[in-house]
Symmetry: D2
Subunit: 293 residues, 4 copies
């Protein structure tokens, strides 16, 4: 489904999520896929985005999204949680949970968030990262399980040539898509990259810092997927912070009502009404079987 979309649509819009509810909201809003982002998932655990949470915890979050959503889940798997053997195990685990795609990045483990000022952004050798892609490719059982290779050369300061060289190497090794990441305020280096790109693997971007870039510009530069990775997290953080401050100081809380969804909205997301419908259906079946008059 994700592969088909990548071929047929001009650009895929992917929304970031950190739990099943945020993933469901991404789906309900019309996005093409969900990004199970490690920065956001770490944040909801109140832990640094620095390989502190383990694969198990990231997997649990992505797997819970996958149980809930019909649109594809793309799991942000950081550096792949170790070497090729870890990547192999990871791909089997994620694929059997119904997750559609994983993304791994070419930094050393343990990583730090790419946008942290003065953060550590050491690149893994091309050879070692290629080994991870080969392992991922060998481990998947379905070719439609999409392997995204994230190039951190621009973030780390290794430069455009290195970024392009690696992107070529990763596609050759079997990556189905290339995520080129940047922490610039403008999309200039991203567009320089895409304009020089001769490969056939679709290009993916995450415009967290260059957020004024237009969809039409992305499309014009042959970008096939845009990920809004952490905005859901950040809007939830602000909304809760503000509400809590208001509530701690309020004499009564009825004024905050219009900033909040209703209980009914939440019941609906949880499919509480579905439980009631199924109870009714069950009663009818029990009637047919003679257990209820």
């Amino acid at each position: 489904m994700l592969r088909k979309d990548l071929e047929s649509k001009s650009i895929l819009k992917v929304g970031g999520a950190f739990d099943a509810m945020s993933a469901k909201l991404v789906e309900n809003s019309g996005f093409d896929a969900v990004w199970a982002g490690s920065f956001a998932i770490s944040a909801t655990h109140a832990l640094p985005d620095a390989s502190i949470l383990t694969m198990t915890e990231f997997f649990d979050a992505a797997s819970s999204m996958s149980s809930t959503c019909k649109i594809p889940i793309i799991a942000d798997c950081d550096t792949g949680y170790g070497g090729p053997s870890n990547v192999r195990h990871m791909v089997q685990k994620y694929e059997s949970a119904g997750i559609s795609s994983i993304c791994i990045e070419d930094k050393t483990f343990p990583k730090q968030n790419s946008l942290l000022e003065n953060g550590k952004n050491d690149l893994l050798s091309e050879k070692e990262f290629v080994a991870k892609i080969l392992a991922a490719k060998e481990a998947r059982s379905d070719k439609n399980f999409i392997i995204i290779a994230r190039v951190e050369a621009l973030i780390s300061g290794a430069g455009m040539n290195e970024a392009l060289k690696r992107a070529v190497a990763y596609e050759n090794a079997g990556a189905d898509a290339i995520l080129i990441h940047s922490k610039q305020k403008t999309p200039d280096e991203i567009f320089e990259f895409t304009d020089s790109w001769k490969g056939s693997a679709p290009i993916v971007v995450v415009p967290t810092t260059y957020d004024s870039v237009k969809i039409s510009e992305l499309e014009a530069h042959k970008i096939k997927m845009v990920i809004y990775a952490n905005q859901t997290l950040r809007v939830a953080h602000m909304a809760m912070s503000r509400l809590l401050k208001e509530m701690i100081n309020a004499d009564h809380i009825s004024d905050v009502k219009d900033k909040m969804s209703t209980m009914q909205d939440i019941f609906s997301l949880q499919e509480m009404y579905d439980i009631k419908n199924k109870e009714k259906k069950l009663e009818e079946e029990l009637k047919k079987l003679g257990y209820i008059n």
Copy 2:
């Protein structure tokens, strides 16, 4: 700490949370304690508040809050996940994870959310619920682990006398506090309850439906703890829903910036800067030991 606060403060304000980040925000906003609510936790898993998630999953959420927060965590434990043996196991597990208090309610298992229209709200027999309180009391190792008994008689339609009779029985059995729940739009029946209450256990309320009640009124009616159980969840739900709809339709997303916290706000919550400080400190120690010049 929670017991001390119950004795010394006029009224405790408790904020609802569903993961470590929301719990941390509750703490940062000045609340006295965190309510790890089962409705909200179920919602973030996109699953009904109907005993679908298991104790393990509720525990994981509460335990993650407890690792993050300095203020007490009060865990909403629904009906106690079974009979007295389950409650015993549960209390030991929650207490060793550093959680300060559990709350159990006198409905039958599996339960449904108390505020669901036409929801199932069957009461457990008083005897069986008293057995659970006795088991909880026997299982805790520290008397300051607070056992809250939640009376559902008003929700279920069993009436005021039943509510009072049960509250007395639960206090006699060892409950440290009584949560009296109501789904009325006004606090009238709550106040009728508290005005008739002769016990010495502190009274706790959750004004989700009667949200215009004033703190001063609660205090006047001898209520010692007010829980804002699900507002954080509902404001996050609305904020994300709106932002996602805006983003799916936007040509660029820079306009949404002022509705969101910054990356730096999140880094700060995650203590990313703390990691960097600790790295610096480590470098100094390695210097002292002669490993770095």
Copy 3:
């Protein structure tokens, strides 16, 4: 696969397991399927077989077996962890993890082990258990996901007629197989049951107490599946107990060697050598790509 086997084979032999290693050994020994038994799984957690562990923990064990084994996993799901809604959620979760079958029993929740002397063995009403079977049937997406209904009427003392009546009702409701349980020292009541059985659902037995019964007798009485539920656990328990007592008193431990598998046996079970083979294959691929000379 399980359904096919039930149709084609004279009798299926199923071995009990409590973790992935014991499941793998069951598979390696030639059994037709693995029984992920709740008694044994509880025991490895050193917790009573009394609904103390949650579905999450039982599921994790069964799911880990399913990742490891090629033969079908049959998950012992006790009473179904609640009512019909819980069973529905459970079936979806187990089926998506690749587990082939679940077994639920008609006792009240929380249950106690059926073989505990003077244990509590209250039966759930037929109507309520039929509701669980209906829910299970509706929740599965593949008809080859096998629903086994376990009849506890003989254990609870409700008698042969009740056992037969319930077995008929459960088959009518959609159960794919009937497990008739007994705690007698002889198979007499089991054979009385099977000889009176007119249904078409295959019959399953667990001869823990009547262990001198012969396979040929089971076949003669039209029994299609025999489960050796807890012998692996019990032999491991005894072997470890003895070895530990020997080791605590020994001056040196080389004498115990022939009672233990070698490190190489374990490496082989873990597929450590497979990791080494895959490393070699990876090296060859890296050579082809020019990364290694």
Copy 4:
């Protein structure tokens, strides 16, 4: 308790375990502490001992042992699951779960089992491993939480001098004990190490390969702790393998009875009888309160 024992006893005997039941058996047999070994825990998941399982899964196993046992749990934490930040998080997590001690080894991540023939045994630089010990020391809140540094220099072929140099460095950095590991068939290099050792940190050994060494010899060479790391696993593996082969071929299984513990033995380990006693006690309390006549 572990520190006190290290000071007062001539030598501590530690038994390996992989789940709560095996840990309980270690305790019941009179050992001083439990070794929650990563090789054995990986094996029960049927996964290679090659950093494939995550800290979460190793932690769950150790934590489950800690809930069950009164004697100290020593958790084998491989390389510490990353860099100093990971070790810091790990120590906090393990310490709050009541685990008494962690052991980390100076190999690179991902590791391979030290006894695997032709396995990868690359050493981490001394500086980087010292950084992990410093982080562990800083992270613990109680000085009695014991940090064991495992020296792999002899395993990796770096030689005796390197082993001694590193042991000194690790003690200087704050390690409470030094585990010196060897894969020789005789204890010669271990005794060469201990005879040259001038430090005051107690020495720990794991005589898996040199299993004919006598306790009296270990004591004579100033060794303070001996860990029988994986014998429980290996005896369980062999006992189950043999029994399963016997059962698959048997016409009836009553002959295997004397190789297995009884159901009652297991009930006793699980404290099933304790549940029944507590039920009785509860009944008495309910009588006193007037709920039962």
